[in-house]
Symmetry: C2
Amino acid sequence: MARTLEQIAELSGVSRSTVSRVVNDDPRVSEATREHVRDVVRREGYRPNLAARGLASGTTNVIAAVMPGAVDNILSDPFFVSLLHGLAVAADERDHFVMLSLGDTSFRHTVDEIARQGVVAGIVFVAGQVDDPLLEPLLASQTPMVSIGRSDDDRVSYVDVDNRGSAQQITSHLLRLGHRRVATIAGPNFAPAAADRLAGYRAAIEAFGLRVDETLIYESDFSEAGGRVGMRALLEHRPDAVFAASDRMAAGALNEIRAAGLQIPDDIALAGFDDMPLAAEMEPPLTTVRQRPERLGEAAVALLLDMIATPASSPRRTILPTDLIVRASCGSRQDQKER
Amino acid sequence: MARTLEQIAELSGVSRSTVSRVVNDDPRVSEATREHVRDVVRREGYRPNLAARGLASGTTNVIAAVMPGAVDNILSDPFFVSLLHGLAVAADERDHFVMLSLGDTSFRHTVDEIARQGVVAGIVFVAGQVDDPLLEPLLASQTPMVSIGRSDDDRVSYVDVDNRGSAQQITSHLLRLGHRRVATIAGPNFAPAAADRLAGYRAAIEAFGLRVDETLIYESDFSEAGGRVGMRALLEHRPDAVFAASDRMAAGALNEIRAAGLQIPDDIALAGFDDMPLAAEMEPPLTTVRQRPERLGEAAVALLLDMIATPASSPRRTILPTDLIVRASCGSRQDQKER
DNA sequence: TTGTACGCGTTATCAG
DNA sequence: CTGATAACGCGTACAA
């Protein structure tokens, strides 16, 4: 059933080499034979054997997706799924496969294997935390790698959304609406995205000429439960607006606010981050920052393949834009949308 | 950096055949040389080249995870992530890799490739619907395959939870608590799991000696929004209990019930399915059926590798048990737990 | 432009 | 128990 290069060659009356050239789009083939061979290839449904190709060329079309602790709360689930989807689609479009490596650090097995030359062409690393312990061995393997999410290490290339800028923008939005005691429920400090969003929050307040009130900052864990706890704590300090660093935390905060008998947005304005489906379905609908995880996945694949194709000494970065999505939870009119 | 079999052979003063035997646990090697070679292998950090191994042996240690439409609402997200996690961990433990193929049907590319002999040793197929169009080509490829989720096709092996039995059990539970107008918000009819849960619901009512009231059945889509819509419709028929075929639908139903000014469980008892984290956090906590998606993933890998190791003509099935988790939403006491 | 020949790292067969 | 040696399917200098 599975034809080989040799058989295709025989069937089309040329040598293996010629077929190989046709298959790999080598220009050194006459148009006529190219056409002919292509026909045979199509007709026979020939597909090159990956193992053989890998062996001969010393390279693969497989990229590894390494996600330590992907199952923890660090990554919000829908985000993770979308990201993976973007990765898979982008890889597929560019004729690559995605090999999965989930799990915690104990999982060294796969990572070792993955880091071995010849197994994968590159790695997409989804970092959950600053200085993830897996980063170093991966880097040491010399395999081209791009991280999803910023890294402090200046050897790593990454793609990320503009967490800081987005957080600053949405916080500014709250300020411009007249809120003055804008609190924030931040993500865990070890997550770069969380740190960046907090930094953006601070920047917005200072840019507005106010002083950052540390009692209005609560560090949580991105989860809904964490949002509840954070909101409960913040309520004591009477904020008139809250920026939660994730929609899930915003959902938790909303429940807590409601439980306290307060109205959104009249008593407290609320804003989130992510624009997960649940954001639009909340009561009231949540003002938030839209990021598109699939795009992150796509961008990571694009960047990685670029790096493989044209190796360079210095790391590269791609920052994706976000959209501020204004809904009712912050008290402005629905149509007051900005980019 | 990456040593080859040949080099290890030289370093340990034996032939590469012997090294190969040691690496592959072939018994035909003296204990002494085995020890010695193992030392060298460890010391040099030797790992076999996968491509070469695949070429020579005609087999791989890669299994494909094919999930058409995994991003749609058909699969609830956390379920999906856990499933993938279970798959990845189980594969890793058994020295296998997981190659991902997400996306819709248009994505034939990867699937074609995957189905090719020699690329993957087997396939784990996550079906979203009855008679998924991808099933046939996959089956035709002759590659060992196990489906996650029941299939009507009697050529397919699968692992699944006992959807029907679980639904019957939880419905019976509601009946035993004294509820007589037990409604259900079912999943989409094209999903086997949804159909099975609905069947279980019907079975329970009939087993209890009641007649199934079709007006108390609403077909929805597993989503929270779908749960709301379904509950709204059902409310007109005055149910005193509702079994939602997913926790997310139960969450939607809960909101709707509350919006109608009714109390849970006093006015209406509520039960779900999945035991997602949110179930325990609901107000009141949700009675539901616990299934463990990671287990499904593990079971799928186990079954698949068994099939590869000892091929058999007939398909095999694994049905995983579930647990009925009794919480406050159905009106019974918390401690009234059954298996 | 096309073909020849060798090598990639392993496994497997067959002698010894 | 161990060691040559032939595949495995393909890429690619090198030759024609």
